[in-house]
Symmetry: C2
DNA sequence: TTGAAAGCGTTACCAA
DNA sequence: TTGGTAACGCTTTCAA
């Protein structure tokens, strides 16, 4: 740990004032070329790095954005994070990345840390545990610009970037119907998860639109573990008149469904067809490969970042914007027509 | 954007000095219980958040660590990142996470940004492009504590947390030999990558130790794309006397190898057995599931963080430590004995 | 137990 | 074109 070189050191060595050094470094006008050259050279020689803390403090601006995501272990979040970071950098901001690991407590702590770090705005996708939104309301009370993506709160008025889960699920179910399925089940997430519920709605609408009746016994709620989906699928397929098509709320659970069907020696897609959501890389790697609904990850990340920055930099009151993006069904083996 | 509440605001409203408020907030001794109570209450009411920039500036300590990883899209890095963050938080530090996306340029920029953010130490895994280490040497010149994990530079004296790639590969190859393979190939990465080369060495040693001769034609160098591995594997298997076992340098490439073998209608593991490295979640999900060498991700993350913090907080000159961890071969279908 | 004031590294204003 | 100085929000002496 040695003393880090500051603007004062440069000033002293060159026998000029700190004000002048500061100007030279930022190449402001009104500075003698020679002075500037000398400053720049010495700065390079001493490997001077400006202290952003000091700058931020005087400017009361950090040019930093905060991100709160549940878990970077998910392809979905790590990819969006990458795009958010890229968009932020492009706009001259840096990004503070935090993970909640799906914990409500950590969500609160992370947000608090971001506040203390003086971020100028926050992009967030809520943890699974988050049922109470006081911490977000407080954020808004203090005027902190906020943008949600994916998992959001309906109670909070803020910019949001989402996909149309209802329509996506409608299309996924319709795809199975078009390919000949007569009896379609839905493997959902916990019944309090809005993304899951929206998808159930789309699924139901598709059935009704094609004169198939909705059978609640065919809608099963899993937790987030593939094992659970396997167990539930075994039960699901065990009844008489089992489904010949399954819409699964996520790729992770779809893997569990796949395991069950293989155990039962059911042929995919001949006997049972499957479609799921997220289009993670595994989809194209497992056998049979899984048809899955792809979200526009890059667009989500870019848009969220742009909306946030727009709000930060807007002089007038900013009108929250809700952007609903289209998804794309990627068809693979698991749902191929016979 | 409204004015954020500061220690001054609290002081003014309570008609006391900022010094007293500061003391109350940090509950230092020598403060009247009533004063303290009043301060804490008002702070809560106004949702006061300390400005870490200011604190860090006066203390010239940020209690922040910097992390530079190639790509959070890899399970390997996102998992280690999670453990690093956890270890950092536990020790009272926060973490600035940056990704290079395998770019040398971005590695330099990221490090510079971390410096400007006044991190007290840096944990890094080098980008693929990084061949020149001047930026790291500069880091050390200014006394910045540095810890490498996984991809490191042999030229730099610093703490490192790694696994024994040579031994891991020896064991992987031995496993194939034990299970009856007579002719074993190695699908490697680019020939300038040290991790890959260390694994080749282990593979060679295993063959020699078991009276099998090393045939350079059986060692093929792929890039990082599964497609390339597929193409090269097709060539590899096309010759007369093709291998009956393949050690693959990474799971990603193993997937490509799998595709080739399936195309050739070769039975796995009956006709060809496979072992790879990293033990990503896909390994257990593909069919056949892939035997793979698991790295102790949690230990790597924790250890790297602890070494770094130890160095930061050590009063005396810190002796760099190289820690070489053991791996564990997770056996699955792809290498099962007939 | 409390307050005044200096200082952390930088910027920005005013004066020279 | 340059310098002096107040200020950013906080901590830390030193004195009261």
């Amino acid at each position: 740990m040695r003393h880090q070189v500051t603007i004062k050191d440069l000033a002293k060595q060159l026998n000029i004032s700190v004000a002048t050094v500061s100007r030279a470094l930022r190449d402001l006008p009104d500075i003698h070329p020679d002075t500037k050259k000398a400053v720049l050279e010495l700065a390079a020689e001493l490997d001077y790095q400006p202290n952003v803390l000091a700058t931020s403090l005087v400017k009361s601006k950090t040019k930093t954005l905060g991100l709160v995501v549940p878990d970077l272990g998910y392809h979905f979040f790590s990819t969006i994070t990458k795009h958010i970071e890229e968009a932020a950098i492009k706009a001259g901001y840096s990004l503070l990345i935090t993970q909640t690991q799906e914990s409500y407590e950590r969500e609160i702590v992370n947000i608090q840390n971001l506040l203390r770090s003086q971020v100028e705005g926050i992009i967030i996708s809520l943890s699974r545990e988050t049922k109470n939104f006081d911490h977000l309301i407080r954020l808004q009370k203090r005027g902190m610009p906020l943008v949600f993506f994916d998992r959001n709160s309906e109670d909070i008025l803020a910019s949001k970037v989402m996909v149309d889960n209802e329509v996506s699920a409608y299309e996924a179910a319709k795809h199975l119907i078009d390919n000949g399925c007569k009896r379609i089940a839905f493997v959902a997430g916990p019944s309090n998860v809005s993304v899951s519920n929206q998808r159930i709605e789309g699924y139901k609408r598709a059935l009704r639109a094609h004169q198939m009746k909705v059978d609640d016994k065919l809608i099963i709620h899993s937790d987030y573990y593939a094992d659970t989906a396997t167990r539930l699928t075994l039960e699901l397929m065990g009844v008489k008149n089992p489904p010949d098509g399954i819409v699964v709320v996520s790729d992770r659970l779809a893997l569990g469904v796949l395991v069950a069907l293989k155990q039962l020696k059911l042929k995919i897609p001949e006997q049972v067809k499957i479609v799921s959501f997220n289009n993670e890389p595994i989809c194209s790697v497992v056998s049979p490969s899984i048809s899955s609904v792809a979200q526009p990850l890059e667009t989500i990340g870019k848009l969220a970042t742009e909306l946030l920055i727009e709000q930060i930099e807007s002089k007038t009151e900013f009108e929250p914007q809700i952007r609903v993006l289209k998804t794309e069904l990627v068809i693979r083996e698991s749902s191929k027509r016979d």
